[in-house]
Symmetry: C2
Subunit: 328 residues, 2 copies
Amino acid sequence: PISQDIDHILETQSALAIDLGGTNLRVAIVCMRGKIVKKYCQPNPKTFEARMDLMLKMCKEAMRDAVDYNCRVLGAGVSTGGRVNPQDGVVLHATKVIQEWCSVDLRTPISDALHLPVWVDNDGNCAALAEKKFGHGKGVENFVTVITGTGIGGGIIHHNELVHGSTFCAAELGHIMVSLEGPECTCGSRGCIEAYASGMALQREAKKLHDEDQLKVEGMDMKISESVTAKHLIDAARMGNSKAAAILNKAATALGVGIINILHTVNPSQVVLSGVLASYYQVPVQHVISQRALLSVQNIKVVTSDLEEPALLGAASMVLDYATRRIY
Amino acid sequence: PISQDIDHILETQSALAIDLGGTNLRVAIVCMRGKIVKKYCQPNPKTFEARMDLMLKMCKEAMRDAVDYNCRVLGAGVSTGGRVNPQDGVVLHATKVIQEWCSVDLRTPISDALHLPVWVDNDGNCAALAEKKFGHGKGVENFVTVITGTGIGGGIIHHNELVHGSTFCAAELGHIMVSLEGPECTCGSRGCIEAYASGMALQREAKKLHDEDQLKVEGMDMKISESVTAKHLIDAARMGNSKAAAILNKAATALGVGIINILHTVNPSQVVLSGVLASYYQVPVQHVISQRALLSVQNIKVVTSDLEEPALLGAASMVLDYATRRIY
Ligand SMILES: [Ca+2]
Ligand SMILES: [Ca+2]
Ligand SMILES: [Zn+2]
Ligand SMILES: [Zn+2]
């Protein structure tokens, strides 16, 4: 029947999603229902020029591929580390995790190169948008997402909208401080939850233990050539290394206390943890909340994200929502 | 002329304002432009029954006086310590600062006794409403108020509205933690800014110093019979007591770091400090922000409230705004 032939040739409304992280630069074609059609990944260059060149090159490749996949790209969405002015599509300021990444207009060059509307927001805010559209945040009016990856980011949804703040610095949840002293942070301060509980922080502690020959325990699988990571710390703790366990316990306490600070400030009905360390932190964070939060927030649900790519999906969601609404 | 005679007999639209604090129970008649016409103050009783009886007795006295002052009372507004459900007019839960103060319906008994509509919110939220209507928050879309009195409370205005949160526990700013360990707090946790920087906390430290005979310095005016307070600690520091100065410095750092945590969460354009310690903390808090906050929030304005009675004025503002709007 004719309807089937038409279905076959109809293009799918899609988004180009770009994720600029501390480690990688990624691009994806994402279709309306959140399916990632194709994904491209490269190490994120250390300089501004190389980064912009690579990003535009990857986008153009994706645009060509999108034609083959019958995806009609409605716009580009960018998720990036750092503070972002989403109205102007500009990265205002980033910590050392992404170098040469201050006062960068992303909208103009991408829009000029691809002839597409462009939306930009920070990675934490994008992750919150992804949960809102495709994950645990569907239909939830007030929730917070905390991403524990290389760094720690976050996004706050209040009355179904992102909280950006007066200078686009809301939900910089990685830089909530839980100690007056505490470990140094990439932001220049001390005692931030990012400095205690991020992948970077755990790797720093793992390396310290390794240098003192205190990391590897009997039966632990770790090659000499392998670089030390947060995962080794977690493995060591699981296999009985009490020093590793104490470090992780402190990291989880710091993260939990930081999250309680968020609860005592905006009191969301749900916390979504995402990023590589989310499933590790879920239980201890819930425990810290039960120990140290005010009674009225102790029943908060702390869930682990089911989304494989929150930053990319959130970047795509700006396009899929705003391009069809035609407002922002 | 006739118009003058009418002016003379016209009643002034007014509110009955009630403030239930850790120390005192206060009632006031407040007219539309924020003028406190008459104020009543008693020590806040320690038991539920005595407190309710006294409150209603004071309210009835105020209602009788309001007739003499030609004030037409449109409703009663209540500011109280603890978590409040403002929709139902119920105090959900309070810390030990106000005893026997959980699951207390304030609206029904007050409304029944006075035949008036009644609005209830917590003291921090009331202080924010007071700033919004009569103080530094006039015309400011996003701001936070932090009250440093006996305890520490706060209120958050986002898009011109109070943030109450999903279980009415938003803006419990006194229980933002800035230490994983730190001093014990009335809430059961540790390291809360209330446990470092409130009047209670400073009094606790002043007493400790006094017991060790380390508080009083040469030339300091302090009678033997006098009970030791936060003010003595501040006086001692000003007169060269370095231990007192170190305690105050730590308190100010804790408060500053706690406020930065708020800035990194909701990023308001202004912080209003109120309460007896506000003017003391303003400069050090601004300094801590310049040292430890993300660049994008360092230019935040920290101001000291000009309002003499933020809790009472905020309680009144609910009546003056909502009774005339006829919605809540
Ligand atoms: Ca964010
Ligand atoms: Ca409050
Ligand atoms: Zn930091
Ligand atoms: Zn506390």
